[in-house]
């Protein structure tokens, strides 16, 4: 098989895009064209993708988000379970570069806590007389870096170690750190979930389309039933199947499995249709005549035809997983403490009290929106790029 540049080699091409081809790849020079023609339809599609500004922007956002997720314990100024009794529900605390009308190295003013004598509500005010300078590679809470080394250096921190840039929750835990580390859960649920559900969907859809007959009929009926369930109620029901006594890593896997279990039916249907159509093509019959086994034909001869479709479908399906996980965790049926995720963080903002007094607890929502937006941008751009009908 001629494996011209696949999406796997993508980021390199993307990197050249923003400066190189500003939105107007519609007019390639003559030499260009012949090269593109030699490199096959995938390369052309890739060219069209890099010409889409939103698609490229989305791809960059995703690369950044996943890098952040990978390095999050280092980027986060605090450990995610470290509680600070003195700084409960502290509002966001800005970094400053102006001191007494003059530009200064980045610093923060220390906060002073006061209590309302009647309501006992805490008020935080900045003490403008002192400055706490921002330090890079500051010492802080110990953590495991990339699962290999135990380290206590964080990308940044301030001298007294009590800077919470985006505020704190009801235990005085740093919201920024929790958002950063929570991205590990929120962003990987989709990837693992897609891998799982696509494996199921491809195998079941492939079997259904390839064998036809009663196998096909039985599978199709089953799919019909599965598709006639509304997603969320079933998701909620399945999430309560996970035993509450499980440790949080198991719960994480359980949630991924539940999400995948709901997601595969639609895909299986499409794969079946594609396989059904591809089965009649001569080279498949040739492979059969040569005595290739069924599974080999499906995996080696039929599936490669579907790769571009599958990549697009996966990109467009991923937001569903991110949203599904956040909804479950938000309702308290998903990810469990001490792990955290964006949905679980939003659960803290659920009460009317929190919404009116501590609105900064809503910030994790911005990350959900950003990641879903980026996946949709990339997915739509890929679909347009590979869409042969429109050309």
């Amino acid at each position: 098989m001629a494996e011209a540049p696949l999406p796997g080699t993508g980021p390199v091409t993307v990197a050249a895009a923003p400066g190189g081809t500003p939105a107007g790849a519609g007019a390639p020079a003559g030499g260009h064209l012949s090269r593109a023609a030699r490199r096959g339809p995938r390369s052309k599609a890739w060219r069209r993708f890099t010409a889409s500004r939103t698609g490229v922007a989305g791809a960059w956002i995703l690369i950044a988000l996943y890098l952040v997720a990978l390095l999050s314990p280092f980027l986060a100024p605090h450990g995610i379970t470290v509680q600070n009794r003195g700084t409960v529900y502290q509002p966001p605390h800005p970094l400053r570069i102006w001191h007494e009308g003059r530009l200064a190295a980045p610093f923060v003013y220390p906060l002073v806590v006061e209590r309302d004598p009647v309501t006992f509500r805490r008020f935080y005010t900045e003490d403008r007389s002192q400055r706490l300078p921002l330090r890079l590679f500051a010492k802080g809470d110990r953590y495991r870096f990339l699962g290999m080394w135990t380290v206590d250096r964080h990308l940044f921190g301030v001298a007294d170690g009590k800077w919470f840039p985006l505020g704190t929750d009801r235990f005085g835990r740093d919201l920024l750190s929790r958002i950063l580390v929570g991205s590990q859960v929120s962003l990987t649920v989709g990837i693992i979930g897609i891998l799982l559900s696509f494996s199921i969907g491809i195998v079941v859809g492939g079997l259904s389309g390839y064998y036809g007959g009663w196998v096909d009929n039985a599978i199709q009926r089953l799919l019909e039933v599965l598709l006639s369930f509304p997603r969320l109620p079933l998701l909620l029901a399945l999430a309560t199947v996970i035993p509450p006594a499980w440790p949080s890593t198991y719960v994480y896997l359980g949630i991924v499995a539940v999400l995948a279990l709901i997601g595969w039916a639609g895909l299986a249907r499409v794969v079946r249709g594609q396989v059904l159509a591809a089965r009649e093509i001569e080279y498949v019959q040739a492979a059969q005549a040569l005595g290739a086994r069924d599974m080999r034909i499906v995996l080696r001869h039929l599936l490669p035809n579907l790769t571009s479709y599958l990549v697009i479908a996966a990109t467009l399906a991923l937001p569903g997983y991110i949203l599904g996980e956040s909804a479950l965790s938000f309702l308290g049926l998903g990810i469990k403490e001490p792990m955290t995720s964006w949905g679980l963080l939003l659960a803290d903002a659920q009460s009317f009290e929190a919404l009116s007094l501590y609105p900064w607890l809503l910030t994790p929502g911005a990350l959900i929106v950003l990641s879903v937006l980026a996946f949709n941008f990339v997915g739509d751009a890929l679909r347009d790029a590979f869409d042969v009908r429109s050309r």
Binding site: E224, V225, S228, F229, P230, R231, L232, P233, L234, L236, A237, L238, T240, V241, P243, P244, P319, L323, S326, A327, F330, L331, L333, L346, A349, Q350, F352, L355, S356, P359, L362, G365, I368, V369, L370, V372, L373, N376, F377
Partner: protein, 323 residues
């Protein structure tokens, strides 16, 4: 038409039976049972709990339990007993189902009323500034989870000193007979869930409407109509928009599941009297018959909605014939 309808309804029956089996199986997979909550209570001996289980019929095998439940539904519309509310399930869910349909229906109508004109407007200004803004806002609308919209709206209302959040009525109208004041109060509460559930749908319908209309505007018959010298506005609205609406109707069927999902999650956040909060608490309390029945009705709603969408499509698009 009638034959088609009858056939569709007949096909629903085996599907519903399978759906009920799956509902039951999923709920049975939940660890523990309703009476387990008393095991940790020192006032209950294990024997009492066992007796309680026997009273509630939880000691029977799953197959027996399913058959009892299913026969009850088929023979006397008895959906089982809510352990938690200590009442028959049918007495609890009726009103909630009605409110679910109302909230979902109002949201659907609202989404269409906003999204279709917006889609037309944007399509006629293709690639312009408005188009770019609208498509970006559309992307955002698709990316914001329903519950987050609900939370943001609540935060906004609270920040401006409003109090009409949560529930569908203010306290003084709860249980009061219908009056103009009660209706206005309902509208005052309803806009938050409608916006929260509808945003995603609005974005989707708008994008679809834009794409459909752009497709149709390039069609030969539209060019012919223009060439005949018809007024451009007439060509757009009578010829192009009319056809562009058709695919939207079939899309409405696909949107129903999302609408039901949205209703459920937004209702939990906003504490609306729909099936959402009830499903949630029944799942947590292992109130199995309530949970099973609600799952069953959720998929029934979906099936009926799909059927209605198909019928509406036949009504809107005269080229479609069922027979």
């Amino acid at each position: 038409m009638f034959v088609y309808l009858a056939r569709r309804i007949l096909v629903m029956i085996p599907t519903l039976i399978l759906v009920s089996v799956i509902c039951f199986a999923v709920i049975q997979l939940q660890p523990g049972s309703f009476a387990d909550r008393y095991l940790e209570d020192p006032r209950f001996t294990p024997e009492t709990v066992a007796r309680l289980n026997a009273q509630l019929g939880l000691d029977k095998t799953p197959v027996e339990q399913y058959l009892i439940w299913a026969t009850g539904i088929v023979t006397r519309l008895d959906f089982g007993f809510s352990f938690f509310a200590n009442r028959p399930v049918s007495g609890i869910i009726g009103e909630r189902l009605a409110w679910t349909v109302v909230v979902a229906g109002v949201t659907l109508a609202f989404a269409w009323l906003v999204a279709v004109p917006l889609g037309i407007f944007v399509a006629l200004r293709k690639n312009g500034f408005t188009d770019a803004i609208a498509s970006f806002v559309g992307y955002i609308g698709l990316a914001v989870p329903d519950f987050l919209v609900a939370l943001l709206l609540i935060a906004l209302v609270l920040a401006y000193g409003g109090t009409n959040v949560g529930g569908l009525f203010s306290a003084q109208y709860l249980g009061a007979p219908w009056s103009w004041g009660k209706f206005v109060d309902l509208l005052n509460h309803l806009w938050i869930p409608v916006l929260a559930i509808g945003t995603g749908g609005i974005a989707q319908i708008m994008r679809q409407m834009r794409a459909n209309l752009l497709d149709v505007l390039n069609a030969d018959y539209v060019r012919t109509a223009k060439a005949k010298g018809l007024h451009p506005r007439r060509v757009t609205y009578r010829h192009a928009v009319r056809t562009a609406i058709n695919p939207l109707v079939s899309m409405a069927g696909l949107q129903l599941p999302e609408l039901i999902n949205g209703t459920i999650i937004a209702s939990i956040v906003l504490n609306l009297p729909t099936i959402g909060p009830l499903l949630y608490t029944s799942l947590l309390n292992k109130d199995q018959y309530v949970a099973m029945t609600l799952l069953l009705f959720a998929s029934l709603l979906l099936m009926v909605g799909n059927l209605l969408a198909d019928l509406a499509l036949a009504w809107v698009d005269p080229r479609i014939r069922y027979g």
